[in-house]
Symmetry: C2
Subunit: 410 residues, 2 copies
């Protein structure tokens, strides 16, 4: 395998289209190709959730202040995080995921779930390691594997509603394992589509991973925001006892604690140990005082989480109605706050359209190509927004598609 | 060059002797080889500073709370950090280091100075890159270079007091550059010795780096805690205009803001750009709310910093008297709060002695081998402690050396 040069790597890591980085793009020439007037309305940034509208867990700032007052012992925790906090989390996360976690050896606190992902891949992937990756899936999966000189084996996801074969094709996955994949990384609910992997599928993945000695890294970041009528299964409580595995979670999304930069990884002790060694040179530890805010995680006031889910389900349903009404193929997310609509054919390319959306319609979205190169007609929206602003923003997207539709040229 | 396997890499990254990680060591067999009684006294952890005794900058917690109240815009900054904060920092750090910094392109906020170091090396070192590294110097320099499959070319530091040739031998450095080093990383003040590189030396380094097209990464983490009668020069305001370079700093040490995990890197825009791309997959950004505490950095109340320096100088001087009085060769740090005494010959190896210190004498220090493998007789102390506790701790170290001295066997 030919390794990328540093310059090639950093070209691959180009991040201007990444969520939240749009501010670094030059608007420049876009102004000259705008058709029609600029659209009014409240600006909506669908690249990430709006934590002013859906605020952080109650008491999270007070918990931070308690941590600050504790002083040095909270500032200088073990690299894997304060033992006292790991004890609490191990119990709550063990309960949530249906399998006990050893606080001493099986869990690490990281700077965000992103930090957990980077450490998990850094602990398992090096030059030439083959990694099976779902497409579409979170962009950093692919980018981190490439940074570590790993080799990606894509596993397509069938996420369309009403299909009999939603999910991944297990034969494709097995072929990837036969072809040498040593790591499999995927998210459930899937980012960007909201598809939840079924218990049957997770059991099959576990059986294949055991058979072919594959380490499984499963990103369950959004598993708490589960919509009415849906079931959720955790990989770690599937029949995966003999599989080397890491589960990633964090309070940045559903609980809106992104500003604290907190995540966790839990699973096989030997991988956790390597992740801590890597953390020792990457950033030492998640910010000590921030760690104290984990006291509020899985510890929210009665009814808080169900209310948050109800609010998001209402936004989801109205946006789905708008997009499907305009014939944008859009799967119904079973969990999480992402929508991944497929746009009808446009007379401008996706990047141009996304820029036009931002400049002309004051709507920021993430291009589908961040989730795999072939998604050149998709956009991703994080609909954790003010309900009315999200609805208006969705309507402006439909309006913009009408303006730039290929059909208007005929 | 043969690349390390993942297992070899993580063996190299073994972190149980790293500062702050001692809690993970098994005390075990140590108890059985203790000679004499356990020593009394207040436990002292010299592996890092005591932020309860030397507390964080006044108002830093209030600044965090202001950031939290700002909400989403503070939680979701650009990956390189909030522009408003970068504007302030660029001005203050430009003033401090004697050369202007462009806030837009030449500075990035990171999760700790550790984070800045990891990103700077990740942006410049890949498989086979030769890196000149000072010995002794901060342990993560070597570890990160090895993690990125780079190759280390050591450059010894002569740090002994009263030597005519304190500093690095520039001929050795030039030989490293001739032999293909493309990156040079060093700290000034040096960690662990407190040696400050002279202006003449920095100018010579700059001239060599320009001649051989070497990127310079200079860790100036401790440059503010400069003792009476000492001069400090910044690499970026040496004659280094044409040198690709990054300066690392942060408020974790002198200002005791370690619990916020904040650092900065500033310098060549193309390296900063790569560092941000890497940060996008490593941890996204320094914790948004924490970033707000940078408002207090280089913005302390009148007299606060000079008082902090006076206190540390008093501890330094008394510890030097104790160690030199016991014939431990110990260089006088010109800046920072580290001492690096060389112990007389002992009848136990360094790791055993360091464990004995912890169990028998309640004193935690970092073994010299963390700073380069050959320092098997040295220990490092961060003397940013309670004055009396530090003095008592130093006396217990002397006592322990007496107990385990080779001489007692004759």
């Amino acid at each position: 395998m030919k390794m990328m040069t540093l310059d090639e790597k950093f070209l691959m890591l180009q991040a201007d289209n990444a969520p939240g980085q749009e501010v670094r793009q030059e608007a420049g020439a876009i102004e000259t190709i705008i058709e029609g007037k600029k659209l009014g309305g409240i600006p909506v940034d669908f690249s990430h959730g709006d934590v002013d509208v859906h605020p952080p867990t109650p008491d999270s700032d007070a918990a931070w202040n308690r941590g600050f007052k504790k002083g040095g012992c909270q500032a200088y925790t073990e690299y894997r995080g304060a033992l006292e906090i790991r004890n609490e989390l191990a119990e709550r996360l063990g309960h949530f995921t249906g399998k006990p976690i050893m606080a001493e050896s099986e869990i690490i606190i990281t700077p965000g779930t992103q930090g957990a992902l980077f450490l998990a891949l850094g602990a398992t992937v090096s030059s030439g390691t083959k990694v099976a990756i779902v497409e579409p899936d979170y962009f950093a999966n692919r980018k981190a594997v490439q940074f570590f000189d790993g080799e990606i084996i894509p596993v397509p996801l069938n996420y369309e509603d009403h299909s009999d074969e939603r999910g991944i094709d297990l034969h494709v996955l097995e072929t990837a394992f036969i072809n040498g994949a040593k790591v499999f990384v995927f998210s459930t609910p899937n980012n960007p589509t909201g598809l939840v992997f079924s218990k049957i599928t997770l059991n099959s993945i576990a059986a294949l991973a055991e058979k072919y000695n594959v380490t499984v890294i499963v990103d369950q970041l959004y598993s708490r925001m589960l919509y009415e009528g849906e079931d959720y299964s955790h990989f770690r409580s599937s029949n995966s006892e003999n599989v080397k595995q890491i589960t990633l979670m964090g309070p940045s999304k559903t609980e809106s604690l992104s500003g604290f930069r907190l995540g966790v990884a839990f699973g096989s002790a030997d991988v956790i140990e390597k992740m801590e060694r890597l953390q020792a040179i990457v950033s030492l530890r998640a910010a000590g005082y921030s760690q104290a805010a984990l006291d509020t995680w899985f510890n929210e006031p009665e009814g808080w989480m169900s209310q948050r889910i109800i609010e998001h389900q209402a936004i989801r349903d109205e946006l789905l109605e708008i997009f499907n009404g305009a014939n944008f193929e859009t799967a119904t997310p079973q969990a999480g706050s992402y929508l991944f609509p497929k746009l009808p054919p446009l007379k401008v390319d996706l990047y141009t359209f996304v820029k036009l959306l931002r400049i002309q319609a004051r709507v920021t979205v993430t291009p589908g190509t961040e989730f795999a190169p072939q998604f050149t007609s998709h956009i991703r929206l994080n609909f954790s927004q003010d309900h009315n602003a999200a609805v208006d923003g969705a309507r402006r997207i439909v309006k913009m598609v009408e303006i730039y539709s290929q059909k208007t040229e005929f």
